[in-house]
């Protein structure tokens, strides 16, 4: 009998944790999206009604946009929703397909880890400098890249290590 997520309790737990993390990542991205709408709406109200265009809205909206991008992208890794050219891979025999999927996930682990490292480096290096127009450190803009990159790496790693019968679609 082939082992599956159901017969391997530790795999099941990892998968459940990954699913939960992906769901929370998407919810965080959704909250950030509502935040962008709120911030930009305030910008319109302040500019046209109060006749006082605030300078903090753009950097805050960019910070929120980075949050949408990185946490939504992390969820997209887990749900395998990213844009790609998969039809060739799915046409290959199963052993080849498993290998290619493993390589693809390994690349995603690597890129996610690099984004996390780069993002953290940029965050730390620019933390002491304020963003023009808002009382936030420049490093805050890079924090979503660091955290989202780490989540991308972890969720890709979970897919990579998942039991092949579960992880490789027919």
């Amino acid at each position: 009998m082939t082992a599956t997520a159901a017969t391997l309790p530790h795999v099941g737990v990892t998968q459940r944790v990954a699913e939960r993390a992906a769901t929370w990542a998407l919810l965080l991205a959704a909250v950030a999206l509502v935040g962008i709408a709120a911030v930009q709406s305030w910008q319109v109200f302040a500019r046209y009604v109060l006749n006082d265009s605030p300078s903090w809205t753009e950097p805050v909206a960019i910070l929120l946009m980075n949050t949408v991008m990185m946490f939504g992208a992390a969820c997209g890794v887990h749900r395998e929703a990213h844009f790609g050219f998969f039809i060739g891979v799915h046409a290959t025999p199963r052993p080849v397909r498993m290998t290619l999927l493993a390589v693809s996930r390994l690349v995603q682990v690597g890129v996610g880890a690099l984004l996390a490292l780069w993002g953290m480096k940029l965050t730390l290096e620019t933390w002491d400098f304020p963003i023009a127009g808002v009382a936030l450190p420049q490093g805050a803009s890079y924090l979503p890249i660091a955290l989202g990159g780490a989540l991308i790496a972890l969720l890709s790693l979970e897919l990579l290590l998942r039991a092949p019968d579960v992880a490789v679609p027919e």
Partner: protein, 427 residues
Amino acid sequence: MAVAILFGVLGALLVIGVPVAFSLLGAALATVLYIGMPTMVVALQTAAGAGSASLIAIPLFIFAGELMLRGGISDRLISFAASLVGRLRGGLGQVNVLSSLFFGGVSGSAIADVSAVGGTMIPQMVNRGYSRDFAVNVSISAALVALLVPPSHNLILFSASAGGSISIADLFAAGIVPALLMTVALMFTVRMIAARSGYGSEGFPGFAEVARRLVSALPGLLLVALIFIGIRAGVFTAIESASIAVCYALLVTGLLYRKLSRAVFMHAVTGAARTASLILFVIASAASFGWLLAYLQVPGAAVEALTSIADSKIVILLLLVAILLVLGTFMDLAPLIIICTPVFLPVAKAFGVDPVHFGIVLIMTAGIGLITPPVGSVLFVGAAIGKIGVTQALRSIWPFYLACLGVLLLVVLFPQLSLWLPYALKH
């Protein structure tokens, strides 16, 4: 050699199934390592790509489109379209096409359009005796109109991929005549097939009913006018216009139509966050790739190479269209726009093609890719809604496909079709 590594690694990663965003970063990283630059270059370019303020409009327009998709506006637009063109031959097919023009203007997304209009119209058409593949093909080809009318986020994506130098207002205006042409071409195609297949028409409900349905659909149609006129007149920026669109969509669907329950709102916002994040991630990942293209002088080399093949503006444009059609068969719309714009736009400009005209041609061509297998995301969504296989859908897609290609050819050959309206509105 560096250029070969950049494109070779990208191609290899894409072929083995690595998602586009990760392939772009992987290719950029490999090239930077080969050149001997610090890898931090890739990080800085990626961060810069993610930090461009002009991109803020994209997630907001997607959010507004999702709210409209789930908030009851599509039913009213379809009802209004039915009162206008239902009496023509192939009635429900005609309604489907016109509804797509209306809803496309509200959502700006082909997927949203085929989901909203196709989701309602395909089952109705099948119940009234239209073949499933006909119903699916009308829906998916009509959905392409959404890519060309405001607030198409794809046009904003093109502007951003071109470095933000192309006016979004001009692009929005330039898409309108080609969108109307495509609507007319598809309605004509529906009429021809309906006559051959014996499909009938619907009755005319009377002018009073047309007026009643217009009033009901007006809030949705007004959104298009609000966005277009606001940006065109220079009253709002694209970002402000997008945030106004979100507020307006919330008010219309929540207070006026009363369709915006908590569950509907959650579906809309998570759906929008998912779509927007995937597009934004490709944009950020493509930034270092685009920077390397410029650093390695790839656009200049492409211009030189193409100059040796042809020297006519039209021939070059047709050549680019042919390349884009092939690429569009394999690649989805957003990655295609993001990857091809930095390479092809300089070529087009070098041969005297207006960047706004090129943008419309690019979006139309890439849009046709959306209904072409093997990727064709709109084709897959339409086939799934129609409960048929892609192979069955392809049996009768050709008249619609040819109609779209015919309009594309017209727009390529006669730039005035896209450039006239932006020019007229400016002067």
